[in-house]
C-alpha cells in the first residue's frame, strides 16, 4: 500500500493541505467498536480528539491510549462531551470486535473506529495523516503512521496537535481549550 500522504506531489503544499480539514468538511464513513456507523456529522457540536493507530502496535498505540486515559481522568466530567476516537490504519486486522477488546483496557470514553480500506484512506486524507504498511519476515507486517493526537473545537475547526514526544503536561491545557 502506498503512503496516503504521498497523494499530493507538489513541493510546497498550501497550509490547507497540511492542516486537517474542519470536521464538517470531512467525508468518511466508519464503524465504531460497538458496530455503529459513525460519520463526521455525528460529531457536530462536540469537541473532538482523534488519533490514528492499530491494535497490533505494542508501543506507540497503547502508550498514547494510556496517556489519553490519564488526561481524561484529569479532566473528569469536563471531558464527557469530548469525542475521543482511535481510527485504525489496519482495518484488515482491526475489526470492530478486535477494537472493542482493545479499547476496553482504557478509559471508557475512548471509541475505536474502523471500516473498509478506502474509507480509512479517506479519513486519513481528511486528517492529513500518513500511514504505510511495512512487511516483515514471515508474512507479518506492521504499520508506520502519524502519531500525533488531533484536537478540534466544538464547531469542527481544527484546534491543535499533541505531538507524541511533546511534554505531556501541556496536553491537558490544550484539550481544555477545546472544551468551551
Amino acid at each position: 500500500m502506498l503512503g496516503v500522504g504521498a497523494y499530493r506531489t507538489r513541493n510546497r503544499p498550501a497550509l490547507s493541505e497540511v492542516l486537517p480539514l474542519p470536521i464538517g468538511e470531512m467525508s468518511w464513513a466508519l464503524t465504531d467498536h460497538r458496530d455503529q456507523s459513525v460519520r463526521p456529522t455525528d460529531w457536530a457540536g462536540h469537541p473532538v480528539m482523534v488519533f490514528f493507530g492499530f491494535t497490533w502496535c505494542p508501543d506507540v498505540c497503547p502508550t498514547t491510549l494510556s496517556d489519553i486515559s490519564l488526561w481524561l481522568e484529569d479532566l473528569g466530567a469536563d471531558a464527557n462531551r469530548l469525542i475521543v476516537a482511535l481510527i485504525s490504519v489496519d482495518p484488515e486486522r482491526d475489526t470492530p470486535a478486535v477494537l472493542a477488546d482493545y479499547v476496553s483496557s482504557f478509559d471508557p470514553r475512548i471509541i475505536g473506529l474502523t471500516g473498509p480500506a478506502d474509507e480509512v484512506a479517506k479519513a486519513a486524507a481528511d486528517f492529513r495523516v500518513t500511514y504505510r504498511r511495512v512487511d516483515k519476515d514471515g508474512g507479518d507486517y506492521t504499520m508506520d503512521h502519524t502519531a500525533g493526537v488531533f484536537l478540534f473545537h466544538p464547531d469542527g475547526r481544527f484546534a491543535s496537535i499533541i505531538d507524541f514526544h511533546e511534554d505531556r503536561r501541556f496536553a491537558v491545557p490544550k484539550i481544555r481549550r477545546t472544551l468551551s
Binding site: T55, W56, P58, D59, V60, P62, T63, L65, S66, S69, L70, V98, D101, Y102, S105, F106, T130, V134, K136, G138, D140, T142, D144, H145, T146, A147, G148, I161, D163, F164, H165
Partner: protein, 157 residues
Amino acid sequence: MNHFLLAAALTLSAPAAMACETVAIGDLTVEHAWSKATIGAGRPGVFYVEITNTGSTDDALVGIATPAAGMPMLHETVVQDGIASMPHAMSIPVPAGQSVQLSPGGYHGMLMGLTTALKEGDSFPVTLTFEKAGEVTVNVDVLSLRAEGPDCADAGQ
C-alpha cells in the same frame, strides 16, 4: 522451548513485583523489567527494562531471548515528521557511567510469535545478551495494557 516448560516458566510468578528486583552482571545492573498484557497470542508483546553501567567501559545490549516468544527483537520507536515507525535496533548502547531505558515510545524489546497471550500478573524470563558483560536473565512482570511502568519505591521516573 516447548509448551510445558513455558507453562512452568509462567507459573513461577511470585506475588512480589519482580520488576522491582535488581539483577547485576559485571558492571551492569538490570532492573524494572516489565511487559504489557496482550489481547491473544497473535499480537506482539513488548519488553521494557532499565540498564545501568557503573563501570568505565562502554557496553551494548545486542540481543534478547525468551521462552515466551519465538521471535524477540530489539526495536526503537522513532517519530520523524510526525510519523512513528519502529526499526530494528542492531544494538542498544549502554555507555560507561550511564543508564539506558527501554521504555514506552523509545527502545523496546518486541516479542513477536508469542507462545501464549501475556496476562496481567504473569511473569516470564528474558535473557539479555551484552556485547561485553555476556548474558543475564531477568524476570519480567506483565502489567496491564494501560500500565506506564512498574510501581517500585525506587523507580527512577
